[in-house]
Amino acid sequence: MGVFDPVLELGRGLMETLRSFWFEPTVTYQYPEQKREVRPRFRGRHVLKRYENGLEKCIGCSLCAAACPADAIFVEASENTDEKRFSPGDRYASTYEINMLRCIYCGFCEDACPTEAIVLGDNYELSFLNRRDAVYTKDLLLESVPTADTLTPRKVESGVYTRSVPEMKDPTD
């Protein structure tokens, strides 16, 4: 190492910051206007999914509530009838609430769900002004219907939707 190397190194440091000052583009996202893509396995706000025919996937089994380590989920089930059908099978979730202040976004509810009804989505912009608003109710969580004629509850012919858990195509999947 030469005698003047320390001084040159100081100068090199200065040049490095000057280079980034002039030439390097910033890495900042201008947040509210410019949002960042989430990762494929990102765990954001929950979404209650529907089948393609518009029926709710959730059957009110409360397995998500049982799996929840933070005890954030509350499910109350009611009976389906063919006159007023919400989901396939016998029962549907008449109340489904998640307290977003308790939720730790661990994704255990997703894993526990037998019908893949609850999924942690992409939305991370959760804010509320009081504790009451932190409890997300079913109508907030439920996905919107694909078309207008597939609303729930709806009248269906009897004997079609008897199976609450869909048949697995490939059991090893």
Partner: protein, 384 residues
């Protein structure tokens, strides 16, 4: 005495204070934006166009912040300390010439508040008063970290003040006056920074220590002293310390520009063109502003680049390197000017002794660098 002169003084003093206060507000924005760009960020750009209203938002936030006074502080001194820190930084600017003069209603108005014939002495004395505020703040806070910060500030100030004084001496010798206006006018043909680059460099380093900026910001080292002397301050009292630091940065840059970079004067090679301040008086403040902005950029740049140096090395650097080196540069400068006055030797029209000043000074600086290098290598070899 004519009463209009009082009006003139009051107006000029008021305008100067306004300049410094606005300068402080926008320097914080300037620093945050420049620092952010160096760290590949954007910096505050939300309040107003490109964040231009950010200082106002900051001020409002600080004013409405709760002000805490810890139970066991020495209250009088605790309240007085921020004021003691701010006032010198404002008063310091009084003697700095911002420009030449202009005529208003048949009256010549000079662009400086006071034309002191011992302006440089005034600067040295006022600049060191500011450290009282910092030390007293550290002491009255009744907090170990704050105390350490205050002590560090005073120790650092004493160590670096000497080299600062010697740098002032270089400018005094070269300008052949203690009056700052004369010093600026003496740089008409050549900036002192060109004639004595080592002196200018030492001055820039020392001013960093003087205003407690990185890499010499030991009194407020966040990691070890939790913000040091102003650890116990909040709200507007903290804002006053902040203000003092940034105003001192501005004023010190103005002083550096005045002493070594031609003050309000244009580049020396523009002296007979239309860009000369002798032609248009309003160019002078603009030139000074540009120089100050560049010097402030240097301070921010250094902060973004270099890490804080260890405290014992800071003291060693001040006493063992800067002080001898500045002594040598003062000696070389004075000798060169004296020899030039006695025997005006010229080679192809250039005064030999004057030209020898920067050459020999740079050689001395190189010797100093090599000595530091050798001492550091000895230490790393474990021989000391």
């Amino acid at each position: 005495m004519d009463w209009t002169i009082w009006v003139e003084w009051v107006v000029k003093g008021f305008v100067l204070c306004l300049i410094l206060l606005t300068g402080f507000a926008y320097l914080t924005l300037y620093e945050r934006r420049a620092l952010a760009r160096m760290q590949v960020r954007v910096g505050p750009n939300r309040a107003g166009y490109q964040g231009l209203l950010q200082p106002i938002a900051d001020a409002v936030k600080l004013i409405f912040k709760e002000e805490l006074t810890p139970a066991k502080v020495y209250k009088l001194v605790f309240v007085l300390a921020p004021v003691l820190t701010v006032v010198p930084s404002l008063v310091l600017a009084a003697v700095i010439p911002l420009g030449t003069s202009f005529t208003l209603g048949g009256r010549v108005i000079t662009l400086y508040v006071a034309n002191l014939n011992v302006g440089v002495l005034y600067l040295t004395s006022i600049a060191s008063i500011a450290v009282y505020g910092i030390t007293l703040a550290g002491w009255s806070s009744n907090n170990k970290y704050a105390m350490l910060g205050g002590i560090r500030a005073s120790a650092q100030m004493i160590s670096y003040e000497l080299s600062l004084g010697l740098c002032f001496a270089i400018a005094i010798v070269m300008g052949n006056s203690m009056n700052l206006v004369d010093i600026v006018n003496a740089q008409k043909d050549m900036w002192f920074a060109v004639a004595q680059p080592v002196g200018a460099l030492i001055f820039l380093i020392v001013t960093l220590a003087e205003v407690n900026r990185a890499p010499f910001d030991m009194p407020e080292a966040e990691q070890e002293l939790t913000a040091g002397f102003h650890a116990e301050y909040s709200g507007m009292k903290f804002a006053l310390f902040f203000m003092a630091e940034y105003q001192k940065m501005i004023v010190i840059s103005m002083i550096a520009a005045t002493l070594f970079f031609g003050g309000y004067r244009e580049f020396w090679f523009l002296k007979d063109t239309i860009f000369s301040v002798d032609r248009y008086w309003f160019l002078a403040p603009i030139y000074l502003l540009l120089k100050v902005v560049v010097l402030l950029f240097f301070m921010i740049w250094v902060r973004a680049t270099w890490p804080r140096i260890r405290y014992d090395r800071l003291m060693a650097f001040g006493w063992k390197v800067l002080l001898p080196l500045s002594l040598v540069t003062v000696f070389i400068t004075a000798t060169g000017i004296l020899l030039n006055d006695l025997y005006h030797v010229t080679i192809i029209g250039m005064p030999v002794y004057i030209l020898a000043i920067p050459v020999i000074s740079i050689a001395c600086a190189m010797v100093a660098v090599s000595l530091i290098f050798r001492s550091l290598r000895r230490k790393s070899d474990g021989r000391i």
